[in-house]
C-alpha cells in the first residue's frame, strides 16, 4: 500500500464524513422547512462579519476550550467525563460563595482565590465519579450524568435560597440569581464596546500548561499510559486507579474554573442556566480537536462560532438555536465512526484492491479499443 494512497484514503474519508454530517443536518433543516444552504452560511459566516461577532465567538471559546481540555485529561486516562456541566455549576457556586464572603479583597487576591475555589469545587465534584470508577468500578458515564442532575438541583436550591440576591427578595420578581458580585472580581474587558475579557488568555495558558503536563512530564506519560492500556500500565508498575482519580479531579477542576471565569468575565453574578450546555459541547470540542490542546483551541473557536451562529439563525432564518445541539450530536456520531473507518486496515485494503481492479479494467478496455 503506497503512502500516497493512504493519505488520499484518509482525506477522502474525512471529506465524506463532513458531507455526511452536513447532509444529516440538512435532513433536519428540511424537516422544518428551512433554507439549508442559507442556514449553513449564516451559522458559519455571519458571526465573523463584525468586531462584536468575532469577540462574542471568542467569548464562547473560553469556557469551551477550558472544559474540553479538562475532558481531554480524563479521556487520555481512560475516563469519559460527561459531568462537566455539573462540575462547572459547582465551580460557579464556589466562586460566588468566595465573592460574597470576601467582597473587599483587592482584585489581585480575590480573582486567583475565587478561581482557585472554583477549581477546588469542580475537582471535588470530579473526585466522586473518579473514586467510584477506580475503587468500585461504577461506570463514569452514569455517575457523571447523575451528578449533573444533582448539581443542577443544588444550584437552583442555593440560588433560590442562601445566595439569592437581596434585591430580588425585596422586589420579589423571583428571578433566582445572586447579587452583582464584587467589582474586584471582574475580569477586565480589554476591547471597548465588547464583552471579551482576560479569561481568554487564562484559557490559552491552561492549554499550554496541559500540553506540557501530558506530553512533557513523566506524570503525563503515566496518565496517558493508564488510559492507552490499563493492563500494560499496571504491569509497568503504574498505579492506575490513582491516575484515574487524579485525571478526573483535574478534569473537574477545569470545568469548575470555566464556571468561575464565565461569571467573573461575562455574567458577573451567578444566574440560572449559566452552564448552558457547555459541558456537553466540551465533549464535542475535545473529540473534534483530536484530544490535543493544539487541536482543541481552534476547535473551541469553531464551536463557539457554531453556538453563536445558531443564536443568529433563530433571528435571521427562523431556525431554532437547538439546531446546534443536533449538529453536535451528528458530529460526535460521525467523528467516532470516521475514526474507526480510518483505523481499519482491512477496509483500506478492500478499497485499494477495488480501485486497483477498477483501474486494470479501465486500462484493459483502453487496450481493446
Amino acid at each position: 500500500m503506497t503512502n500516497r494512497f493512504k493519505t488520499g484514503y484518509k482525506i477522502g474519508v474525512i471529506i465524506l464524513a463532513i458531507i455526511t454530517a452536513m447532509a444529516l443536518g440538512a435532513v433536519i433543516l428540511l424537516a422544518i422547512g428551512a433554507d439549508v444552504f442559507k442556514t449553513y452560511i449564516v451559522i458559519l459566516t455571519r458571526p465573523l462579519m463584525n468586531k462584536i461577532g468575532v469577540t462574542e465567538v471568542l467569548l464562547r471559546m473560553v469556557p469551551l476550550s477550558i472544559i474540553a481540555i479538562g475532558i481531554t485529561v480524563a479521556y487520555r486516562s481512560g475516563i469519559i467525563n460527561i459531568g462537566a456541566e455539573g462540575q462547572m455549576a459547582i465551580g460557579v457556586l464556589s466562586t460566588t460563595a468566595i465573592a460574597l464572603l470576601f467582597p473587599n479583597l483587592p482584585g489581585y487576591v480575590l480573582i486567583p482565590f475565587a478561581i482557585l475555589a472554583g477549581a477546588i469545587g469542580g475537582a471535588a465534584w470530579g473526585f466522586i465519579p473518579g473514586f467510584l470508577k477506580a475503587k468500585l468500578q461504577v461506570s463514569e458515564l452514569l455517575s457523571t450524568v447523575m451528578l449533573n442532575y444533582i448539581a443542577a438541583q443544588l444550584y437552583t436550591f442555593l440560588l433560590r435560597g442562601p445566595m439569592l440576591d437581596p434585591a430580588e427578595m425585596t422586589m420579589g420578581s423571583g428571578t433566582p440569581q445572586s447579587m452583582r458580585l464584587s467589582k474586584n472580581l471582574d475580569l477586565t474587558r480589554f476591547i471597548k464596546g465588547t464583552r471579551i475579557h482576560t479569561g481568554l488568555f487564562i484559557a490559552l495558558a491552561l492549554a499550554v500548561i496541559i500540553y506540557f503536563l501530558l506530553w512533557k512530564t513523566s506524570f503525563g506519560f503515566k496518565l496517558r499510559a493508564a488510559g492507552a492500556s490499563s493492563k500494560a500500565a499496571r504491569y509497568g508498575g503504574i498505579n492506575v486507579p490513582k491516575y484515574l482519580i487524579i485525571a478526573m479531579m483535574i478534569s473537574g477542576a477545569f470545568a469548575g474554573m470555566a464556571g468561575s471565569i464565565e461569571i467573573a468575565g461575562v455574567h458577573r453574578r451567578a444566574i440560572e442556566g449559566v452552564t448552558s450546555g457547555y459541558g456537553f459541547s466540551g465533549i464535542v470540542v475535545a473529540l473534534f480537536g483530536g484530544l490535543h490542546p493544539a487541536g482543541i483551541v481552534p476547535a473551541a473557536f469553531f464551536f463557539g462560532l457554531l453556538i453563536y451562529g445558531a443564536d443568529m439563525t433563530q433571528r435571521i432564518v427562523g431556525v431554532p438555536a437547538n439546531m446546534v445541539q443536533v449538529l453536535q450530536g451528528i458530529i460526535i456520531l460521525v467523528i467516532v465512526s470516521t475514526k474507526m473507518i480510518i483505523n481499519n486496515p482491512y477496509l483500506m485494503q478492500k478499497v485499494e484492491s477495488r480501485i486497483n481492479s477498477f483501474r486494470k479494467k479501465g486500462s484493459a478496455q483502453e487496450e481493446t479499443v
Binding site: I28, I32, L132, Q137, L141, M146, L147, M323, Q325
Partner: protein
C-alpha cells in the same frame, strides 16, 4: 393508610416510562450494546408521540386513535434511531459510550428543534386517559392500585413477562444472549452477530421511543425540553440494578418511582423541606445503587460494550 395508597397509586404510573425504557435497554445490553443514547430516543418518541394528536386536534376534539397513531410513530422513530446507532456502533464498531452521548445530543436536540418549529410553546394534548378495568377496578384498595390506570400501564406491566419469555424461552432470545455473552462462539455456529445486534437495537430503540411517548401522551400530556429529565440514563442504570432480568428491572423501576411519588406526596402535605433535595433523590439513589452493586457487573453480559469483528482473532 390512604396516604400510603395515594403514594402507591401515584407511583405505579410514574414507573411506566422507566420500566418500558429499561426493558428496551435490557435487550440492547443482553446483545452486548451499551446504549447511552436512550435519552435521545425517548425525547424523539415523546415529541413525535404528541405531535400527531396535537396537529389533528388544535384545540378541537381528537378521536382516540390518533393517540395510538402517535404511539406507533414513536415506536417507529425509536427503531429508526436504533438502526442509526447500530450503523455507528455495530457496523463501524465505534466506542459505544461516546457514540451514545452523540445519539443523546442528536435526539434531544432534534426533538427540541422540531418542537419549536411545529408547536412552539407549552401546548397540552388530551392524551390517553385512565381506563379503569370493569369489575376489577371496583375491588377496594387493589382496584385503585392496579386496575385504574391508562391502557399503557397495563401494557407495560404485561411487557415484563413477555420480555422474560422472549429473552429466555425463544430462539431469538437465546441468540440475543449468545451474541452478548460470547459473540465468537455464536458466530461459529452460524448466528449472524451483527444482524442480531441490529435487531436488538431496533427493539430497544422502539421501546425507548414508546417510553418517551408515554411521558408526553399519558403522564405530562405535553412536551417540553426537559421532559425526559434523565430518565433515559436512569433506565440504563436500572438495567445494571436489575441484573439484566425483566422482573428485577420492574422491581427497580417501582422502587425508584416510589421515591419520586413520595417526594410529590411530601410536597402535597405542605411539609417545609427544600424540594430540590427531593428531586435529587432518584439521582442520588442511582449512584448509591451502582456503587453497591459491583458484584452484579461480573454476572452481566460478558461482551457488553465490546464491538465484534469477525475478521480479527481475539
Amino acid at each position: 393508610m390512604t396516604f400510603v395508597i395515594n403514594i402507591l397509586s401515584l407511583g405505579i404510573p410514574f414507573s411506566v416510562a422507566l420500566l418500558i425504557a429499561s426493558l428496551g435497554e435490557m435487550f440492547n445490553q443482553r446483545a452486548g450494546i451499551f446504549n447511552l443514547g436512550c435519552e435521545g430516543m425517548m425525547a424523539m418518541g415523546a415529541f413525535l408521540g404528541m405531535l400527531v394528536p396535537y396537529l389533528v386536534g388544535q384545540g378541537s376534539y381528537v378521536p382516540g386513535y390518533y393517540n395510538y397513531l402517535g404511539l406507533l410513530l414513536a415506536l417507529a422513530v425509536g427503531a429508526l434511531l436504533g438502526l442509526v446507532f447500530g450503523v455507528v456502533v455495530v457496523t463501524f464498531r465505534a466506542p459505544q459510550g461516546i457514540a451514545g452521548i452523540g445519539m443523546q445530543m442528536f435526539g434531544v436536540g432534534t426533538a427540541g428543534t422540531l418542537f419549536r418549529h411545529f408547536i412552539g410553546g407549552t401546548q397540552s394534548v388530551p392524551g390517553i386517559n385512565v381506563a379503569p378495568i370493569p369489575l376489577l377496578s371496583d375491588i377496594p384498595v387493589l382496584g385503585v392500585l392496579f386496575f385504574n390506570h391508562n391502557p399503557l400501564v397495563y401494557v407495560a406491566f404485561l411487557m415484563v413477562p413477555s420480555a422474560w419469555y422472549l429473552l429466555f424461552k425463544t430462539p431469538w432470545g437465546l441468540k440475543v444472549r449468545a451474541v452478548g455473552t460470547h459473540p465468537r462462539a455464536a458466530d461459529s455456529i452460524g448466528i449472524d452477530v451483527n444482524k442480531v445486534r441490529f435487531q436488538a437495537l431496533m427493539v430497544g430503540g422502539a421501546l425507548a421511543g414508546l417510553a418517551g411517548a408515554y411521558l408526553s401522551l399519558c403522564q405530562a400530556k405535553m412536551f417540553s425540553d426537559g421532559i425526559i429529565a434523565g430518565r433515559g440514563f436512569i433506565a440504563v442504570a436500572l438495567v445494571y440494578f436489575g441484573h439484566w432480568h425483566p422482573v428485577k428491572i420492574m422491581g427497580g423501576a417501582l422502587l425508584f418511582t416510589l421515591a419520586q411519588a413520595l417526594q410529590l406526596a411530601i410536597q402535597g402535605l405542605g411539609i417545609d423541606f427544600p424540594y430540590e433535595f427531593l428531586v435529587m433523590l432518584p439521582y442520588v439513589m442511582v449512584i448509591i445503587v451502582l456503587a453497591f452493586s459491583r458484584k452484579s457487573q461480573i454476572t452481566g453480559p460478558a461482551a457488553l460494550g465490546k464491538p465484534f469483528n469477525r475478521e480479527i482473532r481475539a
